[in-house]
């Protein structure tokens, strides 16, 4: 655990006093301290292109009164710096009269261990794996023209000090290993990307030469795309494969169920609580408590223990995801969903691991039921317009379905749909729920946070496919 005060002229007791003093007439707020170390090692174009290390230390001081948030951060942990932040907050919230809510739930559960993944594997052995990846892929096939592989590691230590001196801490390891390969055949180029990761040490993910299966998967996706034909354009049936395609759920449904957009009534879901928003077989949860997952957190960034929040149960909208601010204003409790990218940012309600649970149908049944449509297996990024509810995501591996059979691979195309109505178009839910490989980062209001997704195969009766072939 980082001791944020031992190299500072700021004593813990002083910090506690400044926090209590500043927040005494506020409804909420805290001092958030963060010490993070991160590394990025990239192999590209046959060489170790860069090895970067970064260390970042700082605090964010937040005061909340009614709906107003005052925030000030600095990367200097000192008495002067905290005092000047305190003055800044007080100048914004000049005449507030709130009642500070001291209640914060407690839990002893931890969902990952206190390791520092950066120190647990030597730089040399990381370089060795990257070079092996490069050699392996380039020897695999003459069509391989470019290989990029990288390790990303992070060790983040946080402490939250609340008014009255209560302190809550967490240590968060996170790693990611990625491979991208570009193939060229008959003048045509295509890429394939695959990655793995989570909150354990690098070697937990690389046992038994597991890096080879990451390479094989990236190569397989690129090979499929080399054979792809132009994608169709227009409305049709879409079968989604299990696992990572659940970013559809994340974009289409997840963002719209975040507390802030619903308190502000800018989400298309804000007036649908308790109503049927999906077909019977659809249950969606957001779970921060799965061991070692990328989106898991022992506590959120306000100190609330995370939980498994049921968002939609058998088609009925049950809960929004809440941080403390939005929960208070909506007369409910925090679901442990308050997150921030780092100490430079305010807390927002965010997703953790968003999952659609299994039903009882098979992928085969879905494919067989489709006369004309597409089968989407993997995606790049997605995006949503919360207000209109329209969302998109980009296929990186997809096939056409003709008369109940999987046909040729098709080129990457954007799929567009309407969030509130898409779940009503889900007519079959598979029995094959799968977690994603641990690679997701969600962006909101300029802040990126690690997230996970999961789903079984599903059949969507109607979506617009943005191909070029009419």
């Amino acid at each position: 655990m980082s001791n944020f005060f031992d190299k500072s002229d700021l004593a813990r007791k002083d910090a506690e006093n400044i926090v209590s003093d500043t927040l005494k007439n506020c409804d909420d707020g805290e001092l958030y301290l963060e010490d993070s170390k991160s590394e990025s090692i990239i192999l590209d174009d046959n060489k170790i292109k860069s090895s970067n290390y970064s260390s970042d230390l700082g605090f964010g001081f937040r005061a909340v009164s009614d709906e107003v948030v005052a925030y000030s951060y600095s990367n200097e942990i000192s008495k002067d710096s905290l005092k000047s932040s305190s003055e800044n907050l007080q100048s914004t919230l000049k005449s507030v009269k709130g009642t500070y809510n001291n209640e914060i739930p407690k839990s002893n559960k931890k969902f990952y261990s206190d390791i520092n993944p950066i120190e647990q594997k030597t730089l040399n052995s990381k370089l060795e794996v990257l070079n092996k990846v490069n050699d392996y892929l380039r020897k695999k096939d003459v069509s391989v023209k470019q290989v990029t592989a990288n390790f990303l590691g992070e060790h983040k230590s946080v402490e939250i000090i609340r008014s009255g001196g209560e302190a809550i801490t967490d240590i968060r390891p996170l790693i990611r290993f990625n491979v991208s390969v570009m193939l060229e055949k008959d003048g045509r180029k295509e890429t394939g990307v695959y990655g793995i990761g989570g909150r354990q040490a690098y070697d937990d993910y690389l046992q038994n030469d597991n890096w080879k299966s990451v390479c094989d998967e990236a190569f397989r996706i690129a090979s499929v795309n080399l054979e792809s034909k132009p994608a169709p354009a227009g409305e049709m049936k879409v079968v989604l494969g299990p696992g990572w395609p659940a970013i559809l759920i994340h974009e289409a449904i997840g963002h719209g169920l975040e507390g802030d957009f619903n308190r502000k009534k800018t989400s298309a879901f804000h007036n649908l609580m308790g109503q049927k928003v999906a077909n019977e077989g659809v249950t969606i949860v957001d779970d921060g408590t799965i061991d070692n997952r990328r989106g898991s957190l022992t506590i959120d960034d306000e100190g609330t223990p995370t939980e498994r929040t049921v968002l939609i149960e058998n088609g009925i909208l049950k809960n929004f995801m809440q941080d403390r601010l939005n929960a208070r204003l909506m007369n409910t409790r925090s679901t442990g969903s308050g997150r921030r990218e780092n100490y430079r940012h305010v807390v927002l309600p965010r997703m953790r691991n968003t999952m659609m649970l299994s039903g009882n149908q098979t992928q085969d049944e879905m494919i067989k039921s489709v006369d004309k449509g597409i089968f989407a297996v993997s995606f790049g990024g997605g995006q949503v317009d919360i207000t209109s509810g329209k969302f998109v995501f980009n296929c990186t591996e997809a096939y056409e379905i003709i008369n109940g059979k999987i046909g040729s691979p098709i080129k990457g195309a954007t799929l567009i749909g309407d969030g509130p109505s898409i779940l009503k178009e889900v007519s079959m839910v598979g029995n094959d729920m799968m977690l994603d490989p641990g690679i997701g980062t969600c962006g909101k209001a300029g802040q990126g946070v690690p997230v996970g997704v999961a789903q079984p195969s599903i059949l969507i009766d109607k979506m617009t496919v943005g191909g070029t072939k009419l």
Binding site: D44, D45, K47, I48, K49, S51, N52, Y53, S54, S55, D56, G58, E67, V68, V69, A70, Y71, S72, Y73, S74, N75, S91, T92, L123, N124, L127, K145, Q146, M182, K189, T191, A233, E235, T266, A268, R344, V346, G380, G382, Q383, D385, I386, S388, K390, F391, V392, N394, K411, G412, A413, T414, L415, I416, D418, T464, V465, G466, G467, T468, L470
Partner: protein
């Protein structure tokens, strides 16, 4: 107060000194400071105030052709000592790369032009609040507007870039940004749109009335959209979207994509990639320009580049490392383009709209549907259906798709260029794109 040059130079000199003493053969260091103050409003009330004050340090150490980098926000000398030592140790075990080196000495910027990119004016939060109140009062006048969110950010930065070849330079910049996002509702739909203004000088930002009116008008006109059928159509891109084509183009001609072979424009120098009416220019010395700079992130002097002349690709955006790989001299574009723009076309905006009896006019795209390896493009879009030059009704939940190679050759531009952003385009029409809807 933003830290002055002396403080940053002293820190940079300290880092260079430490790194050289422990054995680095070459060193490059950047020290930066930035202060930003933001006030956010929502529905005519204060929602959030945010002040940030941050130092940043990054260093590249070289041992011959070996190179490694470290960055941190903690500029205490004892921390810098530890990190520079760690960087040097990492460099030792990093493999050699023959293309690693500091930039050519004779290309480094030797003088600083005054580009008018720093306005020392400070606007206090009370004045920001006053601006936002006026803005939201105007923006929410119409009853259809059910929510407004607006913000005012003042940002000041200063930096020093120094290397062990004797380069040491930097300068202050400022920006003032105001924005308004409105949500409108009618019996059929709820829609969101926005307007913003970002300038180097406080006096140049749009007045709150203009900004509020635009945000409100642009949101209300999107209400009750329809979905159209799937067909090949001409697509007109509003200026705020058209500049995205230039961003994609800039990524595709970056020397790193070219050197890696992952761009559809690799090997296209001196080839016709646009129709012969198209000229693209990157001009670093526009007075008050949002992308203006004296030198790139390596210290190399930036000069105006004609990237595309009469449709022919003339230059890539080249940095030192990738330039060496490609046997090209850096043209001062490490870190990307500066002020990038299409020159005006010949037709007026109205003439462009009337070119075809029907077309669609796009005001927003969503999704990351540009594949720069293949040139394939497919994104979600919202906008308007246009018939005989007139906006008929709003449309949404459609996609537009094509391939940049074909799209670039079918670009037609209006003559309404102005310099609102760092990347700017006149209103753009691309013929023959696939629109997917119903």
């Amino acid at each position: 107060m933003i830290k002055d040059q002396d403080f940053l130079e002293a820190k940079a000199a300290y880092c260079l000194d430490v790194a050289k003493k422990i054995g680095a053969s070459d060193v490059s260091v950047t020290i930066g400071h930035s202060i930003s103050e933001t006030v956010n409003f929502r529905n005519k009330n204060l929602d959030e105030s945010n002040r940030s004050d941050g130092l940043a340090f990054s260093i590249d150490t070289y041992i011959g052709k070996k190179k490694s980098s470290i960055s941190s926000s903690n500029l205490l000398n004892e921390n810098l000592d530890i990190l520079i030592e760690k960087c040097y140790e990492t460099t030792k075990i990093t493999p050699e790369d023959e293309f690693n080196s500091l930039p050519d000495k004779n290309l480094l910027a030797d003088e600083l032009k005054d580009l008018n990119i720093y306005d020392n004016t400070h606007i206090n939060n009370d004045k920001k609040i006053h601006y936002l109140k006026e803005l939201e009062n105007i923006a929410s006048e119409d009853k259809k507007i059910i929510n407004t969110e607006s913000s005012f950010t003042e940002k000041k930065t200063n930096f020093i870039l120094a290397n062990s070849d004797g380069f040491c330079s930097g300068y202050k910049t400022s920006s003032f940004t105001t924005s308004c996002v409105a949500v409108a509702k009618d019996e059929n739909s709820m829609e969101r749109d926005y307007e913003y203004s970002s300038k180097r000088y406080l006096d140049d930002i749009k007045d709150p009335q203009t900004l509020g009116k635009l945000a409100s008008y642009q949101t209300i006109r999107k209400l009750s959209p329809k979905k159209i059928g799937s067909e090949k159509l001409s697509v007109i891109f509003d200026k705020r979207i058209a500049k995205g084509m230039l961003s994609a183009f800039a990524s595709a001609i970056s020397s790193s994509s070219i050197a890696r072979g992952t761009s559809f424009l690799k090997g296209k120098i001196n080839e016709q990639i646009f129709s012969n009416s198209i000229n693209i220019i990157d001009k670093p010395d526009i007075i008050k320009g949002l992308g203006s700079k004296n030198f790139d992130s390596e210290g190399i002097k930036s000069e105006t580049l004609n990237l595309v002349k009469e449709g022919v690709l003339k230059n890539y955006l080249v940095d030192t490392y990738n330039g060496r790989k490609l046997k090209l001299q850096s043209n001062g574009r490490s870190g990307g383009p500066t002020n990038l723009y299409f020159e005006n076309g010949k037709q007026s905006y109205d003439e462009l709209l009337k070119t075809n009896s029907k077309c669609i006019y796009i005001t927003e795209t969503i999704g990351h549907g540009s594949n720069l390896v293949t040139g394939d493009y497919s994104v979600g879009a919202t906008g308007f259906f246009v018939e005989d030059g007139e906006f008929k009704y709003p449309i949404n939940e459609i996609t537009i798709a094509g391939n940049f190679k074909d799209m670039f050759k079918n670009i037609f531009l209006a003559n309404d260029l102005n310099f609102e952003y760092s990347i700017n385009s006149p209103t753009m029409m691309i013929e023959g794109m696939t629109v997917a809807g119903k």
